[in-house]
């Protein structure tokens, strides 16, 4: 596999909650239009790292970032960065589907309306395209006025993905997007990810190792750095390599279920 171009370059990233360092010296290149999975035991900083990629951690008081995160070669932590625009370009899908208690249409329309991205006919087109891309259009096209909370959990999660797509991001961050879903709904999301990577760069945190193995192109194995309470990437590479012949004994122990 030829090395695809880098979308996000992370250089010596550290993250502190007050005096506690949660991430230590993370450096990886996240490939454009590929799926990168972050795996590792609980508390190793996977979600913290994911949230560093669109500055979601800014909302937590008393935190501090060192190092660089270059999105298309621009450091997103440089002074003067437009964080709203950053989060439009780097969207996020969460663990539990979190649609607004509104209609399906209004959920997807929310982002474009707030950001003033599309009006009227254009808006409808955006919504149709987003629902298509999230593989939900066929199931909801006749009921766009229906309350989003009446959908199944799997449909709600695809609706959240459609809502993220409607603001035309370049990167989608997924924080355990399937942990609340049943196996069929999970496989649907995984299939959808394969479709979405034609256009988008995807970074996914997952506790489900088989999901990382099935769905991702690259895998970053995270763990607490030796002798610390701070997470770091101990091994990063093609998913096939990580799951057939990892370099690091700790990766081997984790993916074969012998950790802890």
């Amino acid at each position: 596999m030829a090395q695809p171009p880098t979308k996000i370059q992370v250089e010596h990233l550290y993250f502190d909650y007050g005096s506690k360092t949660a991430l230590t010296d993370v450096s990886i290149d996240i490939a454009r239009q590929r799926i990168t999975a972050l795996i590792g035991p609980s508390g190793c900083g996977k979600s913290t790292f994911l949230r560093c990629l669109n500055r979601m951690n800014d909302t937590i008081p008393n935190t501090h970032v060192r190092g660089k995160v270059l999105l298309d070669e621009q450091n997103i932590y440089a002074p003067g960065t437009n964080v709203v625009e950053l989060r439009r370009r780097v969207a996020m899908v969460f663990q539990r589907p979190n649609p607004f208690p509104q209609s399906i249409f209004d959920n997807v329309a929310f982002g474009p309306r707030v950001l003033g991205l599309a009006k009227n006919a254009n808006l409808f087109q955006t919504i149709e395209e987003s629902l298509h891309s999230a593989d939900l259009w066929g199931e909801v096209k006749d009921n766009l006025k229906q309350d989003a909370l009446t959908l199944s959990l799997g449909q709600q999660q695809r609706l959240c993905i459609a809502r993220a797509l409607a603001i035309r991001p370049a990167v989608i961050l997924m924080d355990e997007p399937c942990s609340a879903l049943d196996p069929i709904a999970t496989l649907k999301i995984e299939e959808l990810m394969q479709e979405l990577k034609q256009e988008y760069t995807i970074v996914i945190v997952t506790h489900n190792m088989q999901q990382a193995a099935r769905a991702s192109d690259y895998t970053a194995m995270m763990m607490l750095a030796a002798g610390t309470r701070s997470g770091t990437v101990i091994e990063f590479g093609e998913t096939k390599k990580i799951f057939t012949n990892p370099r690091d004994k700790r990766t081997e122990d984790y993916i074969t279920g012998r950790y802890g």
Binding site: M209, F243, T244, N245, E252, I255
Partner: protein
């Protein structure tokens, strides 16, 4: 430290089972050589009959591997061990077929006058059995160095086989009445040579599961 005790147990049992199959195959090979030396047709027939048991053993191992793969989602080295075990079971089963081949030839030779002494053939059978023994030991102990030594000794077998071929050829040229006998002995030597190749395969699988690298040492 072991969060997956059932899984560990299943993997350990599989390894033991494979080694047990290895012993059965070793026994079949050794007995086929005894049958040859003693011109013991009864013994040869029992080797032929017992090949079924080894075939069944192979299927049991395959079924166990499939079961673990389907239920435990093995990865990394565990996955490589399982794939190696599947391949080794097939290699062992084919070695037993070659032991059966030797035994069949023994039943045919019973009607022939006795053989001239064939020290090369015995050197071959000794080396082949040692290769298999060491290959299985390399599997049991994940000993890459030993596995590499087994692969290297395949050249010696090829050399002995060639030498034996020339000796048999000279017999045949000297006395055409020996052609049938000599041909039978060549069949036996060929079976031994194939067993050596398969023992080399076993060792290659060990190197593969231990290191993740495939190498082909059979030429």
């Amino acid at each position: 430290m072991h969060a997956r005790e059932t899984y560990e147990r299943e993997l350990a049992r599989l390894r033991e089972d494979l080694l047990a199959m290895g012993s059965e195959v070793q026994r079949a090979i050794s007995r086929s050589i005894i049958a040859l030396d003693d011109r013991d047709v009864e013994l040869a027939r029992s080797i032929i009959a017992e090949d079924e048991v080894i075939n069944d053993h192979r299927f049991r191992i395959e079924t166990a591997c499939h079961g673990i793969m389907a239920t435990q989602q093995p990865t990394a080295r565990d996955l490589r061990v399982l794939i190696a075990a599947l391949m080794i079971a097939v290699d062992l089963e084919r070695m037993a077929d070659h032991a059966k081949g030797i035994a069949k030839t023994v039943t045919l030779t019973a009607r022939e006058p006795s053989f001239p002494p064939a020290p090369d053939l015995h050197r071959m059978s000794d080396s082949v059995r040692r290769m298999l023994d060491q290959g299985l030991q390399a599997f049991a102990e994940t000993d890459v160095e030993l596995a590499q030594r087994v692969c290297a000794s395949d050249d010696e077998i090829d050399h002995l086989y060639k030498q034996f071929f020339n000796v048999m050829l000279s017999y045949m040229l000297e006395d055409p009445r020996s052609i049938t006998r000599a041909t039978y002995l060549l069949w036996i030597a060929h079976n031994l040579e194939r067993i050596a190749d398969l023992a080399t395969n076993v060792s290659e699988r060990v190197i593969y599961y231990a290191t993740g690298h495939m190498q082909d040492t059979n030429f």
